[in-house]
């Protein structure tokens, strides 16, 4: 599975790169618009190991951010699942926060939280949590009548149990969305670094953009893609493991 993911990523990356180069030669664009293969190779030799370190750095923050956003999404999903006024209030709040592009509220976040680790983590988590939230809200607000009936009529239902039942019945959807949201955690962390950090691959991308160095960006995209493929592969693996063990403990 992991092996397959990496292979597929390589194919996609190659396809994308080929497309760029085809455009370059078709439109006869100079090297400063789209770098030549040689300059790509040069650049990658120069920056590969440094960028690799940066990507690992970013991945680490992304993983923490993903965990935080899973917790956040579960929390909001659980509170917002009720059709009560408060439930829908929570939902509106969550939606509204998300509607604002992070660039617009970043100044406010920095004012309130300073520029420490917290701001970065918050931004990463905010970007990542929303798809999780949507799925979890959808799942948590839909009763599984045939299973819940017994607990409801015998007065045994508790919100924890309700959540457990709905999560279990939708475990496939949940694992899909959790492993999928890894990509968003990564993107979120990179954006946060782009705006505020002084480490990580987002920081390196900002510099490359500032120096208008597309070949570095292409190298960075490679490293981001490949590490993410591995991470996602592992997440999917643990997803199916969770499915298996929860259903046959």
């Amino acid at each position: 599975m992991l092996h397959r993911r990496v292979l597929q990523f390589l194919i996609i990356y190659t396809l994308g790169l080929t497309l760029l180069l085809v455009v370059k030669y078709l439109l006869n664009l100079s090297d400063y618009v789209i770098p030549s293969p040689e300059s790509l190779i040069n650049t990658s030799q120069q920056v590969f190991s440094r960028y690799f370190g940066d990507v690992m750095d970013t991945l680490l923050v992304a993983i923490i951010g993903q965990v935080v956003s899973i917790c956040l999404a579960v929390l909001v999903g659980v509170l917002g699942r009720q059709t009560t006024w408060f439930g829908s209030f929570i939902k509106v709040a969550a939606y509204n926060v998300q509607a604002y592009p992070i660039v617009a509220i970043a100044p406010i976040i920095f004012i309130l939280l300073g520029d420490g680790f917290m701001s970065r983590l918050l931004i990463a988590a905010m970007i990542c949590y929303f798809p999780l939230l949507l799925s979890i809200l959808g799942i948590m607000s839909e009763p599984v009548v045939d299973v819940e009936h017994f607990y409801r009529i015998t007065g045994r239902i508790r919100w924890q149990l309700e959540i457990k039942i709905r999560a279990f019945e939708n475990i496939h959807k949940l694992t899909t969305v959790v492993s999928g949201s890894a990509t968003l955690a990564m993107a979120g962390t990179i954006v946060a670094e782009f705006m505020a950090a002084n480490a990580g691959i987002g920081y390196s991308i900002r510099i490359a953009l500032y120096q208008s160095d597309l070949s570095r960006i292409i190298v960075a995209l490679f490293l981001i893609g490949i590490s993410l493929s591995v991470y996602q592969g592992l997440l999917e693996f643990s997803g199916s493991w969770v499915k298996k063990t929860w259903a046959s403990a």
């Binding site: 009936h149 015998t154 045994r156 457990k164």
Partner: protein, 230 residues
């Protein structure tokens, strides 16, 4: 009187037809009773009225000394995260552990407790589900085709066990089997189409239980009565 339905009238939203019309019956006390009638006549609807999950009806329900009416049906599922044995343990009040074990054996389920619910046969599912309800506190339990997918021999055994163990409770057993309801039930509420009046007839059954002989003639008479009332 324990439970009475009076002038119950029910029409589903958007539908023209009455499901129940001026429907009524009265049950004096505990016992194993049946709700009987052709498919689509309104048995499940009545059950849902009794537990309050349908509230858009006319008429009145009168209850005496009933704190808890439970309703169990044959499509229910147990959560899949533990095996059925663990699940039963968890929902059984500790005072009723022995009762539960007794039923697990009597219902022929002892060797299936380590399986997941999804790995059971239909009839096994029915039986496990029923046990969950029987170990709860209740005055009235409505069993909506709860044993529909269980073979006759096992079913008889289960009914006799229930009658033995819970003489002071009130059951409403929904079944399509005339023989069965005639034989085992104390009263049979025979329900017929809403445009026949009265819609319900209360018929005395044989109320057969362990250690009592079954009067063949009376039994056949009951069946006949039910047929006629339908």
């Amino acid at each position: 009187m324990l439970l009475a339905c009076r002038h119950i009238t029910l029409k589903y939203a958007g539908s023209e037809k009455y499901v129940l019309k001026n429907f009524g019956f009265e049950i004096d006390g505990p016992g194993f009773h049946a709700l009987f009638g052709p498919s689509g006549v309104g048995k499940t609807s009545l059950a849902r009225i009794l537990i309050g999950s349908i509230s858009d009806y006319d008429g009145e329900i009168v209850k005496r000394r009933i704190q808890s009416i439970l309703y169990s049906y044959n499509m229910e599922r147990l959560p899949g995260w533990s095996n059925v044995g663990t699940h039963l343990d968890r929902i059984t009040p500790s005072a009723k552990r022995d009762l539960k074990d007794e039923m697990v054996n009597a219902f022929g389920l002892a060797s299936f407790c380590s399986q997941r619910f999804s790995q059971l046969s239909l009839g096994q599912k029915n039986r496990i589900n029923l046990i969950r309800y029987l170990v709860q506190d209740f005055q009235v339990l409505i069993m909506d085709e709860s044993l529909a997918n269980v073979d006759e021999i096992t079913r008889e055994k289960i009914l006799l066990t229930i009658k033995d163990l819970f003489p002071d409770r009130c059951f409403f057993y929904i079944s399509h089997n005339v023989l069965e309801v005639s034989k085992f039930c104390e009263h049979i509420v025979v329900i017929r189409d809403a445009n026949k009046q009265p819609q319900a007839h209360l018929i005395k059954g044989q109320n057969f239980s362990n250690g009592h002989p079954l009067d063949k003639n009376a039994y056949e008479k009951t069946m006949l009565e039910i047929m006629n009332a339908s």
